[in-house]
Symmetry: C2
Subunit: 211 residues, 2 copies
DNA sequence: GTGTTGTTGGAGCGACCGCTCCAGAATGAG
DNA sequence: CTCATTCTGGAGCGGTCGCTCCAACAACAC
């Protein structure tokens, strides 16, 4: 129970050919792009078929139903989001790295003209209350995100960059929350100002713990 | 242009009877509750009809289409959200008021068992990119929210509670972003910890500006 | 080659969606 | 009372939704 893989008797596939793997990947990528652009509910299975260039039977061959597909989308977007924050995210152990990470996030949203929020957060807001299994995946996704933040801050404290009374757990969570809220407001207002302000505020708080 | 009322030729009603006003209100309230629980897209017009106890023709008599109804929901929820934060929100001019406000928000989410995020923020995440008019309403809603935060912090600075280099605009925006992000993570993780941590972080930053 | 399993195409079903339409009942103005 | 306007009930239409089914093709194991 509470396995990270799909639950009981997923109509998914046991073994996948190289070709099948490619088809499956194309479906997930197409679905991810559409969900990012229009949300889960507004993304129809038929839209995914068209975008991925597959037939209905192919889609339902690899994913038993839409819910399963959406869980695959969550997994895919989690990986993509973390990758988009590299290399800074995995070594957030100096104030300079923290600032570069902040700048990268802001630049990314600016390049998107502030359209679209967080690929994971948006899904969370839409289906966290309605799909328990997806919610578990989202919790895991956020945890994968928070972990490197926590680890970077911990390293900073160990190296004496942060005072002993700085709490890496608290600060990492505050950072993630500021990021999510900043993204939402940036998406709504179509300005990167909220994202910048939210991140800068928490970073300033962290700087207050500089040793 | 950019009026706050509905735009060109809204099929809405010119004059409303007392009875009509009541019916309209019932529809908006039912729709608001359903949207809060299940989101915009998952809320069917038929669901609203059932919940409000009205027929299809009634609903379309008061609201030309679903989009118009959703804009009314945004307006209604904006009022409701602000009301739920009173009396603190309108007088956030001491640290004590700030803490009471924080406690009220946390208690509210706890009483909901962390189900459902921000009534406005959730809608924003879902349709900000797809409905330009709704997005404008949401921007206005957030502004109505941010204004008292800004005004409270400004008062604190004027009274000498905050140093001159404290920027009420920045801090108010950071507070709102932390709140939104905290609510999203709290909704996803089903714990009030993220909300508490996010708000406490920004409040701690503000306290750093205490004169 | 043969059999098994993975892969693909495409028609189509039942349910639900937002919305329309028309006729009748209630209401307010004169 | 008269009449225009507002309000209500309910059937139903065209479209879309998630999904099923069946038959054929391709790839791999032996």
């Amino acid at each position: 129970m509470t396995t990270t893989t799909s639950s009981v008797h997923a109509p998914a596939v046991r073994r996948l050919t190289a070709k099948g793997e490619a088809t499956r990947a194309r479906i997930v990528e197409a679905a991810s792009a559409l969900v990012f652009a229009h949300g889960v509910t507004r993304t129809g299975v038929e839209d995914v078929q068209r975008e991925a260039g597959v037939s209905a039977s192919q889609l339902y061959h690899y994913f038993g139903d839409k819910q399963t597909l959406m869980r695959a989308v969550i997994a895919h977007q989690t990986t993509a989001v973390l990758a988009a924050q590299q290399p800074e995210l995995d070594a957030l152990d100096t104030f300079e790295a923290l600032e570069r990470w902040r700048d990268r996030l802001v630049a990314l949203q600016r390049s998107r003209h502030c359209v679209g929020g967080c690929p994971i957060g948006s899904i969370a807001a839409e289906i966290a209350d309605d799909d328990p299994e997806a919610r578990a995946d989202l919790v895991a996704g956020f945890e994968q995100w928070e972990a490197p933040l926590r680890s970077g801050l911990t390293t900073m404290r160990e190296r004496g960059l942060l005072a002993d009374d700085a709490d890496p757990d608290r600060l990492a969570l505050a950072l993630l929350a500021a990021l999510q809220g900043g993204l939402l407001l940036t998406q709504t207002r179509r300005t990167t100002v909220p994202l910048e302000t939210a991140l800068d505020a928490v970073i300033e708080l962290i700087r207050g713990y500089a040793a």
